[in-house]
Symmetry: C2
Subunit: 255 residues, 2 copies
């Protein structure tokens, strides 16, 4: 009998969030599952880690083919801990989410959901981040199950190129119009600091899509009822600029 694949799950909404529970049940259909997730919300944790405080974990569930750990660290800490402390074999796949809130365009940089997937990717574990464009803690995830299962089966069968992960976003709709592979759209968060006291501020703001008409972007897909799948790469070097900068800055600095 072929060994069932081992699937590692984390998120940034915490181990008790509905999204990770739905994802866990789905993944149990496909393999053995280990969940290592934060003990509470870590939204917008990005790739942050905990260099100062010790990290504590508690085993909260253990049954055939499933182990669930609750962790005091960040999403990235959870993945490091799983790969470097808790797992006795290398996972075949890491999935992150399902995040409550989309992680499209520049939001990939703030996202703990994407951060966790990026950490797995750095360690050569194929990784997928799933996010739903919603502000609700309780949602109907059934419209997205089919795409999640198909994406995961594709990656389990084919793997992913080195240093690349998949970032999957869903619009909150009763039925998807379809799925689009697309690039990150250009956009930015605006008016993000609300003053709430003399020297006190609260994070707020709205997202401004800088190219709402570009059909090849993730936000276009979401705005039009499609799931978006974007391959994200680890290497952020702006390769196209290297030659120009070599001539200009390197020359300046070396004289």
């Amino acid at each position: 009998m072929t060994k069932r694949p081992l699937i590692l799950i984390s998120n940034d909404d915490g181990v008790d969030a509905q999204g990770i529970q739905v994802l866990t049940k789905l993944m149990q259909r496909l393999g053995d599952v280990i969940v290592v997730a934060p003990n509470g919300p870590r939204s917008a944790a990005s790739c942050s880690i905990s260099p100062i405080d010790n990290i504590n974990i508690t085993l909260v569930k253990e049954e055939l083919g499933l182990k669930v750990w609750r962790c005091t660290g960040t999403p990235t800490d959870c993945v490091k801990l799983a790969l470097d402390g808790l797992l006795d074999r290398r996972p075949d796949l890491m999935v992150s989410g399902i995040n409550h809130g989309d992680n499209a365009s520049v939001s990939v940089h703030y996202s703990g959901t994407v951060g966790a997937a990026l950490e797995a990717c750095m360690k050569n574990v194929p990784a997928i981040a799933f996010s739903l464009q919603t502000k609700n803690h309780q949602c109907d995830f059934r419209p997205y199950e089919d795409v999640i299962l198909k994406t995961v089966r594709y990656v389990l069968q084919n793997g992913l190129p080195d240093d690349v992960l998949l970032n999957v976003n869903f619009p909150e709709v009763p039925q998807l119009k379809g799925t689009k592979v697309c690039r990150l759209g250009r956009g930015r968060w605006m008016k993000e600091m609300m003053q709430v006291g003399e020297n006190e501020y609260r994070l707020t703001g709205y997202f401004q899509n800088l190219e709402p008409d570009s059909e090849d972007t993730d936000y276009w897909a979401l705005d039009h009822g499609f799931a978006s799948i974007t391959p994200i790469q680890l290497d952020t070097t702006a390769h196209a600029l290297l030659e120009t900068l070599k001539k200009e800055i390197e020359g300046d600095c070396n004289t």
Copy 2:
């Protein structure tokens, strides 16, 4: 008389770190300076932000051409707050650091120093992150002053392309051999979780350079006594994969 450029400074080691104080003094030679930096260490804060807690700030210094704010948030919060609350005009440049510890290769993903620069870049403010490969809290930064000033002058004069920042790293040496424009090297952190109790871990580990002989990488430059300058881009889409994935996954998901 031409208006002096306005330069925004932040870091992830906190407002009291030596690196940001050295950088502040250097920038005062070139323009008016506003510092908005965390009230203590935020190493490895990445692009994390504070969606739950309010953010408090205190003005700790105000003199001609210089204002220094201490902030309870992350490096990214500091930049958002500066651009969206504290500044009455748009800065001409944002500089981050000088970080105590390098931020080369994959460490750019964990770095709060780079995170702060990325935030400025998202808001179209030209940004440079500076980091020194050291473990010391007190260092001699004089060997790097010339490259810092030259890089900053270059960017003040020429700007940077949209959605690109510069990531500058220095080796800890009495005298630089020179400066190299280079790509991020491939590498990864290893053995990162040390067990310190039954269910308690501490972050540790060492960096493994996966291409130590590649002369076009940042770590090669640092290992050989050169400053490294790497252009980093906001867009992390793996563009080269879009067509293949469109054929393969999009087909799967839409049937």
